[in-house]
Every structure is written in structure tokens, then in C-alpha cells.
Amino acid sequence: MCGSKVNISEANYLKIKEICASFNNNPGDLINVLHKTQDHFGYLPVEVQKVVAECLGIPATRVYGVVSFYSFFTMKPKGKYAISVCLGTACYVKGGEKILDALKSELKISEGEVTPDGKFSIDVLRCVGACGLAPVMTINGKTYGRLVPEDVKGILAEYAD
């Protein structure tokens, strides 16, 4: 009879410890720690959150509470190329949803999902601060503006590897 176990690779464990240590394992920096951790792993799976909780000396419910509250944090892995479609007011009015639909039918996945080959993922966000270029999407941080649905195919081709 022993407690439950959390499986994690040594490299990942040490990386999380390093990130937490860079914030002096201060529980008040939980959000900053999660930002950095998500930057590194692309998402925040259960075992990663448990290590964060352990390092900061807080219950896992606190970590999960924050991760599940803020839409920026995700527990689902992202694709190698993470596409974010803006559906903020300006982009929405300028047809952001049509861009999203074009991406969905091109990649055959829904928002929040990853293509089976792990290459692309689609997420929706609210405003990237480039309303003048509406409608906008970003791929791994690179911004594409003034889009029409027909642009989608060509842009995806840029990531053909």
C-alpha cells in the first residue's frame, strides 16, 4: 500500500525543476512558471503539473485550478506548427471564422486538435493586438494578416518541410 505514482522522464523532471528554481520556487509565481513550462513543452500534461506543484510546494489542485481557468494554458499537445486563429471582435467582423473553417476543412481537424502526424494544431484566441491587419492568424508566432479563405492552402504549403 503506497501512494500513487507519477511517471516522468528525468530530462523533463529536471527541466521543470530548473524553471521553478528560476522563480525561487515561489508559489506566487505560479502563472509565470506555467508560462515558461508551456513554452518549453508546448502544453501542460498532468505529470508536468504535478512536478510544478511539488517544486512550488502547493497542492496539485492549485496548479490545475489555474491551468483550467486560463484559456492560454492547454493540457493538449500542440502540433509542430501551432496555428492560432484570432476571433477577437475586429477579426470576427472581418471574417475570421471563415479562415478558421478553411483551416479546419484543409487539415481535417477541429479547434483544439492536432493532425494525426503531429504537424499542425488549430487554436482560437481573442486578439493578438494586430486588429489593423484583421483577420489575422499566427503560426508559431509568425503573423499572417488581411486573410481571405483562399490564402490558407498556400500558407500551409510554406510548412511542407
Binding site: 500500500m1 503506497c2 501512494g3 500513487s4 505514482k5 507519477v6 511517471n7 516522468i8 522522464s9 528525468e10 523532471y13 498532468v46 503539473q49 504535478k50 512536478v51 506543484a53 511539488e54 502547493i58 497542492p59 496539485a60 489542485t61 492549485r62 496548479v63 490545475y64 485550478g65 483550467s68 481557468f69 486560463y70
Partner: protein, 591 residues
Amino acid sequence: MDTIKLTIDNRTVEVPKGTTILKAAAQMGIKIPTLCNFELEGLALKNHPGGCRVCVVEVAGRRNLAPACITECMPDMVVKTNSLRAVNARRTVLELMLSDHPNDCLQCPKSGKCELQALAADMGIRDIPYKGEQSHYPITLSPSIVRDESKCIMCRRCEAVCHEYQTVGAIGAVDRGFPAVVSTAFGEDLIDTNCIFCGQCIAVCPVGALSEVDHTARILRDIANPDVKTCVQVAPAVRVALGEEFGMPAGSIVTGKIAAALKAIGFDYVFDTDWSADLTIMEEGTEFIQRIKAYLAGDKNVKIPLMTSCCPAWVNFYEKFYPELREYPSTAKSPQGMFGATVKSYFAEKIGVARENLVSVSVMPCVAKKYECEREELKVNGNPDVDYSITTRELARLIKICNIDFTTLPEAKFDSPLGESTGAAVIFGVTGGVMEAALRTAVEVLTGKTLPKIDFEEVRGLEGLREATVSVPGVADVKVAVAYGMKNARVIMEQIKAGNCPYHFVEVMACPGGCIDGAGQPYHHGDASIVKARYAAIYKADREMPLRKSHENPEIISIYKEFYGEPCSEKSHHLLHTHYFDKKIKFDIEK
């Protein structure tokens, strides 16, 4: 002290600075309804998030309505608690809450005790105008606690006790907006979390989102089964609380009625956990004497302080949070455990019944005891020493199901030979009681003299963390500490870790004030006077006992003569002692 004058509902009132509108109004006899707000005054439980908005009042000159529970009184403030605007807003808040509530009151475990139900009745809600989506979560089980998150109203009282009072954090608010709910991290089962099953979340939940696992139907089946014999034990704190379930005043001592009710329900043998509490003192007291003697003789390996181990939530806590210190707590089983082990060995043999055919049930003020029953190390060939445990509330339901008029029931006595007890046993039900009971025996054994005064007032009280020095002439000044709530227990564990713990003997209980406010007791709804009345009743019951020291209990003396030999003998080690496990969450790191 600075005071403030203000007007509430056209009457002026003067209150100390810092008083909330809610408390100022209460002082005037104005009862503003609340839901998320909760406080067990003087007993460390509180929750003031100002979140539910049921207590909104109108403050002259302010644009928005103010939540009375967190708004402080200001000079010359003019407050209306019952203006049309305030009443309508309160009603809307309640209607919105009810629109996302299952409203299955007739089958709900909290029915009749539910604060939301009472509020809806008080507000005269007859229709819920908002028809929309409802939250649906599956009901989840654990050995002790049932969670029905669909009923959660996000008052977050449970979260406050779990995080702040117990420093456990097994449950907390997750998600946002409509799906927001109090749950475990990642939706895990409670058993896989750090939950210690203290059940205080149940004790404070205003609705039916949290309740205990119910075994009443199982009892009725076992009693009706001609192939088994049934026996029952009743914990000390139950006898000062059960009466409340039948309209008797808080603090009524109903020991004799409980024995009579259990016999009327049909148990074959009705015994008393107080008997095994006396037995616990013999074992734990002896262990303390052995450890302190070794310690004073300079033994560096002996674990001092000795810590009590009768509280099952506390045991879970050190197994999950401080497994490296698990040799400090006494190896003595809890009174429930000692009773179970004795009844399924000594007593089963005596009446010629195989242990599998003897159903042993306990009535506890506790929900963590349900978990304790399921511990593998407290079973013999898979057969538990205590088959299952019911709470004080479940016993009340059982009495009602069995058509027993509890208030007029003539008193009866517990059966022999596991029914006789002393005042030292009954005080197990209150914080400081196990310590005092142990001192009554240990000091007499250590000095070889009769105590001139057996009331150890210095370890009594309702402070969460107390310390005292007890002079044992010719031996030592024994430093003791008494803690309730894991936040306070943590203080002592950290001292032990740091090597600067000044105590020789420490008592720990998980619930506020000890078992008298165990999570299986009748709901107090934040009324601390109920807990205090139970506290006074425990000491009254102690004073009224002819014998008040465990080692003077004739049925304890005879069980050692007849069966166990002497305290901490080989036989008692085998049956009355246990061991603890490392249950900390482990990281399995793959290279």
C-alpha cells in the same frame, strides 16, 4: 475601541470599527441570509469569499448593492437589508443558482439539512424563471466521501477547510464560467489524491454535493441475516451529539438511550468504544512510559515526542505528507481498531462464532473511520476487524427507519464484557482528552502514587495548538502539546524535522475541537455554540463516571488477566498495534 454609528433598516446601531454589515445586523436581530459565508467562531473554520451574493443589501449613496458579509460598516452608513431592490436581487441570485441545481431534494442526502433548500423555502421560491443548461457531473465514490458535483454551488467552503484549515488541498475550484466546479486536480478519484478523508468538506457543505458513504441499508440486511451475529461499538463523541438529531438541546448526554436504541434495532451485542479507549490508554500509555524512560536514560534512537494515533485522518495525513516521521506516532491502533481486533478474536472465540460470521460495526462521529475499516493491515485473511463504520447521522437515520421514538426511549446499559468504561475514555471525544486520559494513567504508573487531582486543566481548551508542562515528581517535567487541524499538526511535524521539537508527548486530532465536531456529527451550520455545548457535555460525562482512570476499569483489568497478559505484551502487539506506510505521491523518474 473605535466605534461606528450607522443605520440598518431604520434603526441605529453602534459597532466596533471593522465590523461587517452582516455582523452588525445580526447584533440587532436582523438575519441577512448567507450561503458562501461561513464561520465556526473560535474553532478556526472560516470562509468569507463574498462570492455568492445572497447577502446583498442596499447602501444609500452607492450605485451597486453591497455583499453584507464582506462590507465593513462606515460612519453614518444607511443600510436597507429588505428594500425591494435588495430582496429582488437576492431572489434573482437564488433563482439563478437553482436553475443550475438538480432540485432532487426528495432523494438528496442533505434533504432537511440543506441550506439552499432552507433559503429557497424562506424566500418563498415557487418558480424558477430561468430555464437553461444544467451542469452534469458523475457521482464519484471513495471509501468515506461521496461527491455529487452537479449539486456544487461553488461556495467553496469545502475548499477553504481543505486548503487553509487542513493544508491538504485535495479539492479546489477548477475550470471557469459555467463549467466551474469544486473538484480534484485532473478529475482524479479522491483515493488517488492527498485527501485524508477527514470529511470536514462534508461538515461545511451547505448542499448535497458532499456526503458520507451510507451503510444503513447494509446494517439492516446484516441484522436480518440469521447466519451471522452482529455487534456494535459506539464512540465517545456520539453520545453528546446524537440527541440533536431528535430535537434535543446540544450537549444532551444520551449514552443510555443509544445503548437502548441499538438493542431495539436488533444488534446481538451492544458494546462501547469507550471500553477500547481505556484499552488504548493502557497500550499507548505504556508505550509512552517506555519511550520517555529510554529517552531520559539517554537513548538517542528513541522517537520523542510520542504522538497519538487514534485519529484516522491524522494517520492518513502523516502517511501522505510526513511518511519519514511515521515512527513518532504510537503504534497503538485506534480505539475502533482495538475494539475490532478484540471482538473478532477474544469475543468471537468466547461465543463460539467464526470471525467471518460475526459482523462488527462501529458508530463514529467520523467519516475517516470508514477508510480505516478498509485498511488491509486491519484485516485477517481479508476479513476486516471492523466490517464497516457508520456516522452519528447514519445512526439517527437508522433509528428513524426502525420506528424508534428516541426521546422517550428508556435508557439501557452496554453489554459486558466490552461495555464498561471510565471518564478517561469519554474525554477521547474532545481535543486534549486523549492526552489527559494518558496522563491520568502514565503519571500514576511513573510515580507509583495516586494522583491528588486527576483533572489536567492545562491541556483542556479549544485553542488549535496548546502546550503545557506536566510535572511528574521524581521523573521529569513532561512537556506536552495538543493540536487540532492539520495546519497546527504541521507546525509540530516541521519542528520534529528541524530537530527543535520541545515536546515529549503530542496529541493530534483532525477536526475542530476534536471528535465532538467530527465530520460524521449532526450538522452545526456554523453555530459554534453547538460544538461548545458538546465540549462541556464530554467533561460533564467524565465527572459523572464512578471511575475516571483507564487502569481502574475492571473489564480492562480482566481482559489483561484473561487474554492479553499485560500492556505491550507479545499478544497485544500482535492484535492491538499496527504500523504505518509511506503513501507520499512518488515521482517515477525514467532515465
